[in-house]
């Protein structure tokens, strides 16, 4: 079967470049998986990711044999890089669900061409996040003790603890994200089944597509299911980072114990998540020539969301300092003062520069329109958000209520190895995803085309 291999790779101000047809959209996205040679850049990234993944395996191997001391954990700082990385990764995941669920409910059509890979990002980020609390358990092979099940020890988890809430929130989030993603994939898997020419591929995609045939009866139920899942995922995504923030606020450590953490954390999560979406979309669309589908308009919109949430985060920093001062609580005041002037002052002021000052550059259209600058900015945001969690967790714990036990935290090379290792894991999974599955939702992009509109005049 010969198809017109017309590819539109030109920047566009609209959400899809003009000139596409149902056929060319399908072929362009499916060809990445089925026919095109994998670009060298992708192979190179995959090799780097694989290397980092091996370092990760080495790091956790050492962790299992020697124990948690290989990380820089020393009293009173028993939560450090591990929990920082956990919160950072979970937060990154949130943008994917925001794009796929909340923007669907709000009928924002520009989401249609970025929701697939953003949601894949969510799943892989949650997988990376899940590593840290489990590795931090000390005896990770007993992690099933976190779940309530009838056991001969006669004990059960404490449902009054936010750490148990976290188990339920994150595992529900991971499950629902995978389900939502898979449901979205089904029609596209059917497309790949019908397009692939190799027998084994046909069988593999056919099994995954479950016999999807685009029947109108199925589409009607399918659309209901998508909307319901979006409606369920929306409160879920807001609850997940809320629960993560409760891990801190329910504790009485000065610097943690405050009521505005949930909205502050959710805004920060979406902020860092959109930075990751941009950091993935910008290289992807140039490597695979998808500028007609992931247009400048998408990057512009994502940058705007990033800036808006960045401003909320900036406001939260101000309120954090204000409420510490206004509380009249000497411990809160001291914690805030230590954060700004103590041993972690460089972390604090760099994070202020990254998260409060830097996003203001996005007010300018020139900055939002320049992909290179936008890519660098998203990196700045990712670094800033990592530092934010580090400062909240480590600066608060290292100088807690009891000055006699204060100790400055020092990271070890295994902290670095574990952290870089999960970046490797993330990239490894992501590269596999773009190689094996359509990274843009084909059927949702088809609905964006002007041809998809049924002409009303044609009614009888």
């Amino acid at each position: 079967m010969a198809y017109d291999r017309q590819v539109i790779d030109q920047p566009s101000k609209k959400i899809i470049a003009p000139g596409y047809t149902f056929g060319t959209v399908t072929d362009q996205i499916a060809s990445v998986v089925l026919t095109r040679k994998t670009p060298y850049v992708v192979m190179g990234t995959f090799a780097v990711a694989m290397g980092l993944l091996l370092i990760f395996l080495l790091a956790i191997g050492l962790l299992f044999t020697k124990g948690l001391g290989v990380w820089g954990l020393r009293g009173p700082t028993m939560w450090a890089w591990d929990i920082t990385n956990f919160v950072w990764w979970v937060g990154i995941g949130h943008a994917g669900t925001l794009i796929s669920a909340i923007l669907l409910l709000l009928n924002q059509q520009w989401r249609n061409s970025i929701n697939r890979f953003a949601e894949a990002m969510t799943i892989f980020a949650v997988a990376c996040a899940g590593m840290f609390p489990i590795l931090h358990l000390g005896r990770p092979w007993l992690m099933y003790w976190l779940f309530p099940y009838p056991n001969t020890m006669g004990i059960e988890p404490n449902f009054r603890s936010p750490l148990v809430w976290d188990v339920f929130a994150v595992s529900t989030y991971a499950t629902v994200s995978v389900l939502f993603w898979y449901v979205g994939l089904m029609p596209d898997l059917a497309t790949l089944r019908d397009r692939s020419e190799h027998r084994a591929l046909k069988v593999a995609y056919g099994v995954l597509a479950m016999g999807w045939r685009g029947s109108a009866r199925h589409w009607a139920v399918y659309e209901t299911a998508s909307l319901l899942l979006a409606g369920l995922a929306t409160p879920l995504v807001l609850s997940v980072h809320t629960v993560v923030s409760l891990d801190f606020t329910v504790g009485i450590v000065p610097g943690w114990h405050s009521t505005f953490f949930p909205p502050y954390f959710v805004a920060g999560a979406i902020y860092s998540g959109f930075a990751m979406v941009l950091a993935l979309a910008i290289p992807l669309r140039s490597v695979y020539g998808l500028k007609g589908l992931i247009t400048d308009k998408h990057l512009d919109n994502a940058a705007k969301v990033m800036m808006a949430t960045g401003l909320i985060v900036g406001y939260s920093y101000i309120m954090e300092a204000f409420s510490a001062w206004y509380s009249g609580n000497v411990f809160e005041q001291a914690a805030m003062w230590n954060r700004m002037t103590g041993p972690y002052k460089y972390h604090y002021w760099v994070l202020i520069a990254c998260n409060v000052i830097a996003p203001n550059a996005l007010w300018f259209k020139k900055v939002r329109g320049n992909t290179v600058v936008l890519f660098i900015w998203s990196m700045i945001v990712l670094v800033g958000m990592w530092l934010e969690r580090f400062v909240i967790i480590v600066a608060s714990l290292a100088q807690d209520n009891l000055p006699s036990s204060w100790r400055v935290f020092e990271s070890t090379r295994w902290d670095w190895a574990t952290y870089l290792g999960t970046i490797g894991l993330f990239l490894f999974l992501f590269m596999l995803f773009i190689r094996l599955l359509p990274m843009i939702s084909i059927f949702e992009v088809r609905t964006l085309l002007p041809q998809a509109r049924v002409r009303e005049g044609a009614r009888e």
Partner: protein
Amino acid sequence: MTQPIYGVMAEFDNPSALVNAARAAREKGYRKLDAYSPFPIEELSDALHLHKNKLPLLVLIGGIVGGTLGYMLQYFVTVMYYPINIGGRPLHSWPSYIIITFEMTILFAALTAVFGMLGLCGLPMPYHPAFNVPRFAEASRNRFFLCIESADPLFDREKTCEFLETLEPREVSEVAH
């Protein structure tokens, strides 16, 4: 005597033509018909009267069951099975149950939505006669199909074919079982 067939299928190259054809077939009195398209078409569900389905009700039930189970699990563990007295605080500490109750509601509702959708669609389905039409592979790319099934009381191999031809399709073909 020729072999019995599953139905006859007409191929269109744009969504408007498919919607018009579906309306015309309904008007003609055909009820056992299905349309196939590469993306969801709102007007098509209209034309085929497909707007009601049981999924929302199932999801509601799933959510209620999940929430109730979540709450009862926590009540059972903290009050009856493994009570921990902390400073004489009440065992039935419902505010701390809210989050897990909520998460279980969402989890069960989402699982019901996905498996309910698969169930109502009859998926996974390893075989369907529609795939016997060679051109049908294009239904997942850029072609639109309308199939009138032989189970329809008005179905007649020749007359139905002739009727479909009047709708100006690209092609009409028989669907083998």
